[in-house]
Every structure is written in structure tokens, then in C-alpha cells.
């Protein structure tokens, strides 16, 4: 079996979508790894009311954690110069204002860019909504960072999402361990493939038809 990108490499590739001066909100799981690779000058937002914070407190330095700065996932943060604290009304104005780029994980993304990422089942109590729907609707750009297929090998890029939706037609770019795919008006545009993979091989693991972009290339970091 050919090699796929590991989680850190997916995060690394997703991080290249951000540049100095961008404002970013990173979702849980894989997207949160992007923080390790994001270029200087990118400013992070946390939905619970913090902008411009410093690095996460790592697991082995928990005793250094300040009590009063946590992110939306409950992780401790370090303060940084130029940080701002605010309430959630202001925070969700930020999120809805189109001034943020968000990198989110996904269970499924549809051909039209529908996103399902909060609940892997049919029971509404089987997942948590949080601020993900707001981010998916309000962000300037929604980038998905995820594995291309489920653990069972089934496509996560699908014709129609089966799981409960987070938002309709919201995804702009999908970055996986196999490919970089743009959600374009004409359909899903395959822009990059993992080293050693062909467009056909990626298509075989993707439910909707992919349009191979002119200048298709290998994922570079």
C-alpha cells in the first residue's frame, strides 16, 4: 500500500494556507496541530473570547499554566503581547464577520461543500455543536483538514452527507492525507495529490467525480 501523509504533514500543508496578518480559528483534533506549523504573524482566535494568544501549554508543563486563559477546547494558553479578551457576543461577531479563516476537521464533506463534523450518528445527543456551525457559516474561508477515508477505508468526501450537517455549502478547500481539493463552482477540483499518488487513485477513494485541475501537482510543503 502506498504511503499517505501523516497527521502532522496534513497539518503542515494546511498551515501553508495561512500567512502573516491572517486571523485564524483552529478546530479540535487534527486542525489544532496546525498551530505548530503556522507562520509568524498569524493571529489566533478562540471562540470563548481571546484573540492573539501565545502557544498552548504542553502536557508536561501543566504546572506552568495560568488559570485564566483557556481555549475553546479547555487547553491552557500562554498570554502574548497585543492579546485581547472579550465576551462571546463580540467573539461571534468576529466569527460571523468574514474576517477569520478557519481550519476544521470533518466526518464528511459533500460535493457541494456541505460539512458534517459534529455528530457521527443519528442521535442529537451523540455529539456537541459548540461554535462549529457559526465558524462554518461565518468564516471568510473554511479549510478542512482530515484523513481522506474512514478507518474502514470508506470515502469521507461524498455525494451527500449522511451524518447531521454542520453547515451547507460552506467548505472552500479540503486537505487530506491524499490530496488537496478545492470546492469550486463547477465541482470538486483536484489540485494536488500526495507524492506517488495518481489522480485516478485518489478518485477511487472519493465518491463524487473529481475534476483534475490544470497543473495538477504533488503536495509541497
Amino acid at each position: 500500500m502506498k504511503q499517505r501523509l501523516d497527521r502532522n504533514t496534513i497539518a503542515m500543508r494546511a498551515a501553508t494556507e495561512l500567512k502573516d496578518g491572517d486571523y485564524a480559528n483552529l478546530g479540535r483534533g487534527l486542525p489544532s496541530l496546525c498551530a505548530l506549523y503556522i507562520p509568524e504573524g498569524v493571529i489566533f482566535q478562540s471562540e470563548n473570547g481571546l484573540l492573539g494568544y501565545g502557544p498552548l501549554v504542553m502536557e508536561d508543563e501543566i504546572e506552568k499554566a495560568e488559570l485564566y486563559y483557556v481555549d475553546a477546547g479547555g487547553r491552557f494558553l500562554t498570554p502574548a503581547p497585543g492579546m485581547a479578551v472579550f465576551d462571546v457576543v463580540t467573539s461571534f461577531v468576529m466569527i460571523s464577520s468574514g474576517r477569520l479563516i478557519t481550519i476544521l476537521g470533518a466526518l464528511e464533506v459533500s460535493e457541494k461543500g456541505d460539512l458534517a463534523n459534529w455528530n457521527a450518528g443519528t442521535d442529537a445527543l451523540g455529539g456537541t455543536i459548540g461554535g462549529g456551525m457559526d465558524l462554518a457559516v461565518g468564516a471568510k474561508r473554511v479549510i478542512i483538514a482530515m484523513e481522506h477515508t474512514t478507518k474502514e477505508g470508506k470515502p469521507k468526501i461524498v455525494n451527500e452527507c449522511i451524518y447531521p450537517l454542520t453547515a451547507k455549502e460552506c467548505v472552500d478547500l479540503i486537505i487530506t492525507d491524499l490530496a488537496v481539493i478545492e470546492v469550486a463552482p463547477q465541482g470538486l477540483l483536484l489540485r494536488e495529490v500526495a507524492p506517488g499518488w495518481t489522480a485516478e487513485e485518489v478518485q477511487a477513494l472519493t465518491e463524487p467525480k473529481l475534476i483534475v485541475a490544470e497543473g495538477l501537482k504533488e503536495i509541497e510543503l
Binding site: 485564566y68 481555549d71 461571534f92 445527543l125 455529539g127 456537541t128 456551525m133 457559526d134
Partner: protein, 255 residues
């Protein structure tokens, strides 16, 4: 000057009746008005509607920390954006109560914030694009405005709000600390009666007018958290260290 300072948490919640609606922030132990939650448990009122962003099980014994979920047996209705912790099976811990009749209304965090704002501002409803095509639109009016779909969301105007502040002056002006500000300012504005537990109560004039986050008009009752009370810096810090030692909590913190 009208006295807003109450001597005990029990006195501060004494008039809350069965069936009341209460907004409580619950962003971790230092961001929850735990002493008021404890008092409401002691009072034992039933049929409550709880509005809380995070409804998550307490990872500690009740003597150590109380989240808003400590009121679970007293609830009739729950409005929340986060029910449970994904790694712990999300909302599974409320199922027993749902079977016994608990109503759960799920929302998103931003929609909750804007509904609380709408309640505070006396609006009749707001058209929010968040939730279109999701379970949030079920049973609600949808409408296309200028080519875009919106859901009509109703304001939330709780009977009470339980607030934890870093500092309160005797007129009720509040400041918070760090990310534990969260929904508290808008909950204080939306509620009919706002009850505050503060780490410190100071004289009027000791908070710079420019730094007040919640102006005193929105605050009805204030109780100072005693040294041994829930939510003090010392106690919260101890919990943080304990949290670092609990496997499941590590997964929460560093997932």
C-alpha cells in the same frame, strides 16, 4: 445607596421558585458560579430551565467542584450548545433524565449568544444564517432575505442569571478575568434578576469606569466568595493540577 450585597448564597437564591429559568456560564470550574449552583441544589427547587453554553459532567466529586450540570436532577428543560464531552460519549450522561422527561434544546454557541443579546435588547426575534440545513432549523421559520437563507431565532430572557466575577463594586459594576468572561456579560444583561458571586467586593470607585465590563444596573445581588468557597484562585489551581493527573482530563486538554 441601595444594598445589593447579600450575606450568604442561600439568601441570594431564596426567592427562586420551581419552574424558573436560569442562565449559568459553565466554562470550567473557575468560570462557573459554583457557590450559587450549590445553594440552588440545597434549596432543591424543581422544574428549572437551564440556559448554559457548556453542559458537561463534573469530573470531580461534588465537594471539589460543581458545573452547571450539578443541577441535572432539578431540570425540566436544558438549552445548550455543548452537551457532554465527546470523549466521554457526549450527551449519554443525560439520557436517563431525557427518558424521564427532560427536554433538551440544542443550539450553537453563537446562536445562543445572539439569542441572549436579543433577549437583553428587547427584540422579538432575529434572522440568523447559522444552522440552515441542520437540526437547528427543525420546527423554526426559515426565510430568504436578499437571496440568503435565515432561521428565525427567538430571544432568551432568563428569569435569573448566576454570574461569577473577579471583582464587584458595591453598586454591582463587574470585571471578569481572562477567558472566564465568556457568556457572562450577555447573560447578566438578558436576565430579569442577576445574582453575582465575586472573588472580591470593593467600594464604589475602586474600579476604573473605563474598565467596567458589566455596569451595575444589570446586577441585583452580590455575594463575596469566602476563602474556602468554590472557585477561589487557590482551589481552582488545585483542580488544575489534579486535572493534569487524570487520564481522561488529559485527553480533554490535549486532544
Amino acid at each position: 445607596m441601595k444594598n445589593k450585597v447579600f450575606a450568604s448564597f442561600d439568601e441570594a437564591v431564596a426567592d427562586i421558585p420551581d419552574g424558573a429559568s436560569i442562565a449559568i456560564e459553565s466554562w470550567g470550574a473557575p468560570g462557573t458560579a459554583q457557590n450559587l449552583v450549590a445553594a440552588l441544589r440545597r434549596k432543591g427547587v424543581k422544574g428549572l430551565t437551564l440556559i448554559t453554553h457548556n453542559f458537561i459532567p463534573t469530573l470531580f466529586s461534588e465537594e471539589e467542584a460543581l458545573f452547571s450540570s450539578a443541577l441535572l436532577p432539578q431540570l425540566k428543560r436544558l438549552i445548550t450548545a455543548v452537551v457532554g464531552i465527546p470523549q466521554l460519549g457526549a450527551g449519554a450522561f443525560v439520557k436517563e433524565y431525557v427518558e424521564k422527561g427532560l427536554e433538551v434544546e440544542l443550539t450553537s454557541h453563537g446562536v445562543l449568544a445572539s439569542r441572549l443579546y436579543a433577549g437583553a435588547a428587547g427584540l422579538g426575534g432575529i434572522y440568523n444564517p447559522v444552522g440552515v440545513g441542520t437540526i437547528l432549523e427543525e420546527g423554526k421559520e426559515k426565510r430568504v432575505i436578499d437571496g440568503k437563507e435565515y432561521i428565525l431565532e427567538k430571544p432568551i430572557r432568563p428569569d435569573y442569571a448566576f454570574i461569577i466575577a473577579q471583582k464587584a463594586d458595591k453598586l454591582g459594576n463587574l470585571v471578569y478575568r481572562g477567558t472566564f468572561r465568556v457568556n457572562q456579560p450577555v447573560m447578566a444583561m438578558a436576565a430579569k434578576v442577576t445574582i453575582v458571586e465575586a472573588n472580591e467586593i470593593v467600594e464604589a470607585g475602586e474600579i476604573d469606569p473605563e474598565h467596567v465590563v458589566t455596569p451595575g444596573i444589570f446586577v441585583d445581588r452580590i455575594v463575596e466568595i469566602p476563602q474556602e468557597g468554590y472557585g477561589t484562585a487557590k482551589r481552582s489551581k488545585e483542580l488544575v493540577y489534579r486535572l493534569g493527573e487524570i487520564e481522561i482530563a488529559r485527553k480533554m486538554l490535549f486532544r
